[in-house]
Subunit: 221 residues, 2 copies
């Protein structure tokens, strides 16, 4: 049987620092021990009909496995977690809570973090940029303060490491250089625990290798 295939940026905008959303999917594959293939796509290719048929918004990652084509990194991670053990508890209640943390990462924590990031990319030259910055940071603080309270001194959000932690760590990593998380020391420690997992390291190295190969002049297929 052929391996599942995901798409990733041919030229990663973050220079291989692991912020692109294929990182979440690679990490999930590594946690459950599922080998996978990667098809690299350019920014031009991503807007063409063949890719839009897989991903209507012209983004990455996508996931193809037999006749199934999926998009949305959260849905792909959930699919992987349902296929093999390692990312969701067996107990049905604990499983539902872990899926709850997946939605929390993507629908409660990520939006204000991305709002600040997008403003940094697209509104930096606007007159209001500096004055709005504390407003955007307050929105993030309002969420991550509560998250920090809930995590407390636990290692993970609810018992053992789960797909909820996987997504939450990738979302919180986006704040690494913001200075915001330093107010909540348990959150950088939580991120560090995630990044120390061997599966994360393998996934990170795999995506970083794409950048290294590109920048050393070797071209992908």
């Amino acid at each position: 049987m052929s391996l599942p295939v995901i798409t990733a940026f041919r030229n990663s905008p973050d220079r291989g620092r692991g912020f692109a959303r294929d990182m979440r999917v690679r990490w999930a594959f590594e946690e459950v021990g599922q080998p996978y293939d990667v098809r690299l796509v350019s920014f031009e290719t991503m807007k063409e009909p063949a890719h839009l048929a897989l991903q209507p918004f012209g983004q990455i990652p996508t996931y193809e496995e037999g006749d199934l084509a999926l998009f949305e990194s959260g849905a792909i991670v959930l699919r992987i977690a349902e296929q093999r053990a390692g990312l969701l508890p067996n107990d049905p209640d604990a499983r539902a809570r872990a899926i709850g943390w997946m939605f929390c990462a993507l629908n409660t924590i990520e939006p204000p973090i991305l709002e600040r990031e997008v403003a940094g990319f697209t509104e930096r030259d606007r007159t209001w940029f500096e004055e709005r910055r504390p407003i955007l940071e307050d929105r993030i603080h309002n969420r991550v303060r509560r998250l920090s309270d809930r995590l407390g001194d636990a290692d993970w959000l609810d018992g053992a490491f789960s797909a909820g932690d996987l997504l939450m760590v990738t979302v919180l990593r986006r704040l690494e250089r913001s200075g915001i998380l330093e107010t909540y020391p348990n959150l950088p420690a939580y991120i560090a625990r995630g990044l120390a997992r061997p599966a994360y390291q393998r996934a990170y190295d795999a995506q970083h290798a794409v950048f290294v190969a590109r920048s050393s002049g070797e071209t992908g297929s």
Copy 2:
């Protein structure tokens, strides 16, 4: 066996127009024919430790069923859809794609819509509000245009009505008075099909009744 219990606003900020996130959960219950109870909470109660234990961010809805407590409307809808037939296809691939549309509604479509809404609530008096408005609207257009292209002339996003459509319709409804959706006539028609479902109507009436009871002087428990 006791019924699942959800929380909803005692005083809905939208005056019973169905934009609060308990609406999604009520609609899901109605689609699968699962009776439920509602506990109304005030804005003060939502920030107290007992509610924060259920919902770390001090929001609604929550979901309690036996020993299970859940938050995140997406996770609650998925839980309901997994317990009873009616919101997810039986075919595993189609089921995975329907869950993909759930994540799409909440992680791709809702964030730019909420960003515009929050700006309307919190930045209306700022000097930059009018100048930023088209920027925020462009971010929404970039997403809903692609969604409109994908939907085409289909009734629902992928075959039969699913939990993905349920969440997408509730998210798109937030644009009802924005003038944005008029550019994409298939989207208002898609919303209208969702709102015409008897299950939607029952859910809408149930949440609207809370507002009517409050405004006529009858107090909830």
